[in-house]
Each structure stands twice: as structure tokens, then as C-alpha cells.
Amino acid sequence: MSGIIEAKGLCKVYLRGREEIQALRNVDFSVEAGEFISIIGPSGSGKTALLNMFGCLDTPSSGSLRLNGIEIAGLKERDLVKLRRENIGFVFQQFYLMPTLTARENIELPLLFSKKSGSKKRIDEVLQMVGLADRGDHLPGQLSGGEMQRVAIGRAIINDPKIILADEPTGNLDSVTSEMIFGLFSELNKRGLTLVVVTHNLDLARRAEKMYSLRDGRIVSCEERACAEVV
């Protein structure tokens, strides 16, 4: 079975002034549909570059990256947007919620861009799923950090993506709330979503099915866990 994300010989070179930065060096990587993957590594190890490419926010300098069977190298911006809209949901460390929109409206936002009609029922469903059924009309400023991240997760799943990419989703949260967020990710994974989570929290990272470790743009290890442990 081919993976939902397939990277072969993936390289990414950035230019900082005249200096070339090798963010990724010949990375081979595969994620099967429905898997829960975590990626750890020190700062500058290439986690950002990898996640950006999985999310079609950037394209490889060389090598191949197939997302849901589509090669992204050489795709035009318009096609990348379409691919992103249909397949990816993003969760950020800083939540990036619109402060003047309620939790419900923040969750609805991707529907505006994908031109899908946002039925109230679907938004209610998502609010229920992320445990915010009674907080939909609150502005982000009235929510706790954990609640804001749950709104962000709701926003990531509203378009029914196949993959959730999360960057340090618990980086701004305390340990109890972090547990709850990972619990929510596990729930989503059980529903069939593929999850790729970048984190510095080793305890949480170990709860994924596979834990990849990156250093200097290369994958240095991959630990596999039993499914039962994840759940």
C-alpha cells in the first residue's frame, strides 16, 4: 500500500543572504493513511521544513514528495492551494485565532475559503467533537489556552481533511491541558484521520504510533509503538 505521504530523497535548501542552509538532506519518509506520527528534534533540525512541505506550503528543492498520490514538486500555486484545502488541516502552537470572530466563526473560516456552505449542523458537530458545544459564541479572548487550541483543532477538521499537521500544538499549554489535546488527537486518529505532530514533548511524542527523530536535516531514528499504547 502506498502512503498518504511519500517522500523520497527529499532535499530543501534555503538561502540566507549568500549562505546556503541545507534544511533537509535526502529524507525518505512515508506515512500511511490513518497513522499517528510524531516528529521530534532539536531546533534547526528541519522539522519546520518537513512540515511545511507536507502542508504544501513549500516545495522541495529536489527529490520527490507525493501527497495522497499527487507529486507536489512543480505544482503551481493554484494547485497547491487546492491540494491543501482538500487534504490538510493545520494546527499551530500560537493558535492564530481571529480575535474578533467567535469560536464558531473561527471554525467556519476554512469553509469560506473552500467555498463550501457552512451548515450550522456541521459546525455544531465539530464544536461537540472538540468539547466546546457550549462555548461556540465566545470570542478567543474569553477562552482558556486549551479551549483556544481546541477551536484551532476544530478549524483544522471542519473541511474533512485527510491529514492533520500540528506544530507544537501543546507548546503553549500546561501538562494537564496538553494531555487533553493529545487525547483529542487520539480521538481524531480513531476516526481515521492521519496525524503528523511536531513536538518537543518527548512523553507526548512517544504516544504516537511512530516517532521520528530529526537532526541536521536527516532522519536519525524511527521508533514504532504498538497501537494499543496509542489508544
Binding site: E77, R85, F92, Y96, S114, G118
Partner: protein, 395 residues
Amino acid sequence: MNFFTLAAKNLQRRRGRTMLTVIGVAIAISVLFSLLALNSGYEKELSKEVNSLGVHILAVPKGCPYEAASLIMHGGVIPKYLSDSDYQNVSTIAGVELASPMLLHQFMKKDEKTGVSTPHIIYGINMEETRKLKPWWTVEGRFFSDNEKGVMLVGRGLADKENLSVGQVLPVGPKKENFTIVGILDRTGDQDDQFHFFPLKEAQRVFNKQGMITTIAVKVRDVSRIAAVSQEMEKIPDIQVVTMTQIMGTIMNLAGSARSLLLTVIAIALIISAFGIINTLLMSVNERTREFGMMKAIGASGLDIARMVLAETVFITLLGGILGTVAAVVGSSIIESFVKGMLPYSPGGSLISYSPQLVGFALAFSVLLGLVCGIYPAVKSSRLSPMEAIRGGFE
């Protein structure tokens, strides 16, 4: 939720800045709207005033013809006179349908309460001919006949101002002769509302101007023959001819320079306002780089971002346009009195004329202003690389 409601909510985040920009646009649109309203009102009133004379040509004594003509239109007195014989000569020219002699006299009247003296205008006219020139005249009471003595007609504006009524007797002239008001002219909306009208012969007698007339108003049978009739009239010594078209043209030219000045003010106001809007939007775009990056990550295209920024701009300018238009309508009397002071010649009626088309134009212009000002910030934000934009969001 749509792009417009999203834009409106985004603007709420920076209320102070948004309101200042809206006020900037409102001032520019208000000035633009006022000038356009003034332009259309000025031409309309001028044309109404010229037409209210009911004549095609004015014969005035030789001298400064345009100045004399515009003075006469406002009831001003010129120190030169034509004679009855000039009138007879003009009447016999082929193509003249009607020639009506007029004598203008001005006197100052002191208000007993305030002690302020104001000029009052007396028109000596032949009623029969004048009514042919101004068939729209109607009267409370009655018109006088040309041979009556001691009678007068007053304009409605004057009657209201001085509390005059039909049957009232007023002392007139150096000998304070009694003149009875036999009629009050129904409101015409032009300068006639402010005048006293006397039978021509009575006016000449009372003010010791026997045989003298200030002007001869001429109506031609065929308007295409105005030039030919004018040429014939100019052959009469003492007479200088001014056609109404020339008067309108001269006044419009004079007003043109004042309008150019106002247009320059508007252009500057609009440019300043436009830079203000662009500045506000660029600041907002720069502050929201990460947010745009997030939006791209959750599925927005560059076009979506551009559309949102443009919607925000149009929202600002449209709101400014509505406020500016309302302000211009509410403050029209202030604007009018300011502009009247700047114009070399002002017709009597209201100079500001609004129409639904004008309101539509002002609002459409504000939307256009928004689109033009929004293009650069919109393009800039749409071209942001999502990865660059949210880089801070990753490690």
C-alpha cells in the same frame, strides 16, 4: 459569514485607526459631493435666473455691457440711461416680437427696529409687455395697468420680510408720495421675489427720470435670428447689446476659475485621503503577516487574501462615502455661504442641487477610491509566501 462580514469584523480590531481613515475619506467625498452639487445647482440657478427675465437680448447704455447686464439682473443701478426714443427704435426692428423698457431705481431703507439700512430695488415696467415676457407671473390682489397712478406690486419675498399686504399704502420717493400695494406677486423663486414694481411712467415721474430708461428687454420672434436682431440694434447710437447666451457664458467663465480652485482643493483632499487609506492598509497588512500565513495554511488562496483586503478597503471608503454625503447634505448651507463668497457672481436661489444620480456617483466614486487604494496592499498581501508568513509560528 462572507468576505464582507469578515472584513467588517477585522476592521473592528483597529477601531480608532479605522475611524480616522473613514473620517479622512468622508471629508474628501463630502467636498467632492458639495462641489458637484454646487456645479449642477449653479448652472441650474443661473439659467433659471437668466430665463426668468423672459428675454433674449438686453439693450443697455454703452459702457460695460456685461457688468451692466449682470447688475440689472440683480436689480443694480447703473448711472447711464437710454431714452424713450431708443425704445421706439428698438420696437420697430424687424424680428423683434416684444420690447419692454425698464427703469431701475435703488433706495436705502432703514429698519426701524435694527437701525440697519438695506437696499431696496424699484422696477419701473410696462405691465402689459412684462406679463407677455413672464407669462408665469400670478398675483395675490391684481396687476396694475400701465396708466394707473399711485399703485405698486411687490414680490412675495419682500412682502413676507417687511410684513406687507395688499391694500397697504407706502410713502415713496423724495416727496413721500403715497403708493398703494394692489398686488403681491406669487413666489417665483428668483430675484423678482425681492423687488417693487411700479408703472414705468410713475417710476420716471416720482424719481425725476422722465424719458429715461435703464434697459430694454427684447424678445425675438425666432431665436435663430438673435444674432441678426442684435446687429440691427447695435446700429442705434447709445445702445450696446448683450444676449443672454453671452451673459451666461461670461458668468460661467468667471465662475470657472473659482471652480478650478475648488477642484484643486478636492484633488488634494482626495490624494491625501488616498495615501491615508493606503498607509492604514499597508500597516494593517504588515501587522497581519502571520495571520495571512495562517489563512493560506487553512486553505485561503492569494486571491482570497486580496479579496479580503479589498473588501476591507471598500468597507472603509464606502462608509466614508456615506458619511461624507450625509455631512455634505446636512452642512450644505454652510458650504453654500462659503462658496458664494468665493464666486464672482451668484444667482439668487440655492446653489446646491442634489439628485439621486449625484448621490449614486459619490458612493460609486468612494467604492472606486477603495478599489484603487486597495490594489497595492491587496497584491502585496496575496503574494506573501505562506511559509515565510508563518515562519515565526514554527520553530
